[in-house]
Symmetry: C2
Subunit: 165 residues, 2 copies
């Protein structure tokens, strides 16, 4: 990913979540990693805990939704002039998340990204299906302690410019 | 529902969400209605808004999860000594939620509640499948602007005492 594009998206998403989505601010969401492969975002456990001392299921869903939404926005393109909404999601809670929350969403393949751009140009609407892995990092790895499969819908024109990755 | 049982659950859920689940406190979750038919909880729009001025999808999922979890706890029984976790959920976002968030979860039928009690007594484990309707009240009605279908799992012994409704 071009460093300038990464910088711009990091700023855009961080500003949006920190200043315009109060719940994301309350959760303490930050960007842990952004490159051509994935967007990974994180949040500390304390504001997102349940009464058992593990992550609250609602917080896991919210974090996963933000990760998928961020990737969908980026796939819609740097000059996308519309907005992205979530259409439906399926969440599997596989085991308790015992510490800081991480949510990782891989970018779709280049052909899938191109298909999104084409659909936006042709119809002003495109579906973007994404999978998000959620868990607590251990030994440098992110175990799949929860998984979100989400369908996002981009509505608008792609504008000029290539896909993000 | 017996007024004393209702009072006890209102206090228990309100205390739990207000004092032990920080995100529920940040959302401003309160109990709007609790009777033998349904648990309905609410939250103001402002702390749960997105940058479009409607409800953030993550907040809708979190509120729906709390409503379902509350009903699952009550179905597990007033003397249930274990805990309830969410196993999986499917969320449909049907239209934007434009104002204060309401989530309503109906109690399962009496035979289904009895089956949960039996499963807990026999195996210390019971599945509780629930549907939650989410939207903004208009003209005294709650439109289905989002829907959660959740599978909750109660783990523990039912203890003495009848089902809640």
């Amino acid at each position: 990913m071009d460093p300038e594009i990464r910088e711009r998206w990091q700023h855009r998403l961080t500003t949006l979540w920190g200043e315009h989505i109060p719940l994301a601010a309350a959760m303490g969401v930050s960007i842990a990693r952004l490159d051509g492969h994935a967007l990974e975002i994180a949040a500390p456990l304390d504001p997102n805990a349940n009464h058992m001392g593990t992550a609250f299921g609602g917080a896991l869903q919210a974090l996963a939704t933000l990760a998928g939404w961020g990737v969908a926005m980026m796939v819609a393109g740097p000059r996308f002039d519309g907005h992205v909404v979530i259409g439906r999601s399926h969440m599997s809670f596989l085991s308790p998340v015992p510490g800081a929350l991480h949510a990782r969403c891989l970018f779709p393949s280049a052909p899938k990204q191109a298909a999104v751009q084409s659909a936006l140009a042709a119809r002003g609407r495109a579906r973007i299906d994404l999978v998000v892995t959620i868990g607590t990092i251990a030994d440098g790895r992110l175990p799949e302690q929860a998984r979100l499969e989400g369908r996002f819908v981009a509505l608008g024109q792609p504008g000029r410019g290539a896909a993000v990755t």
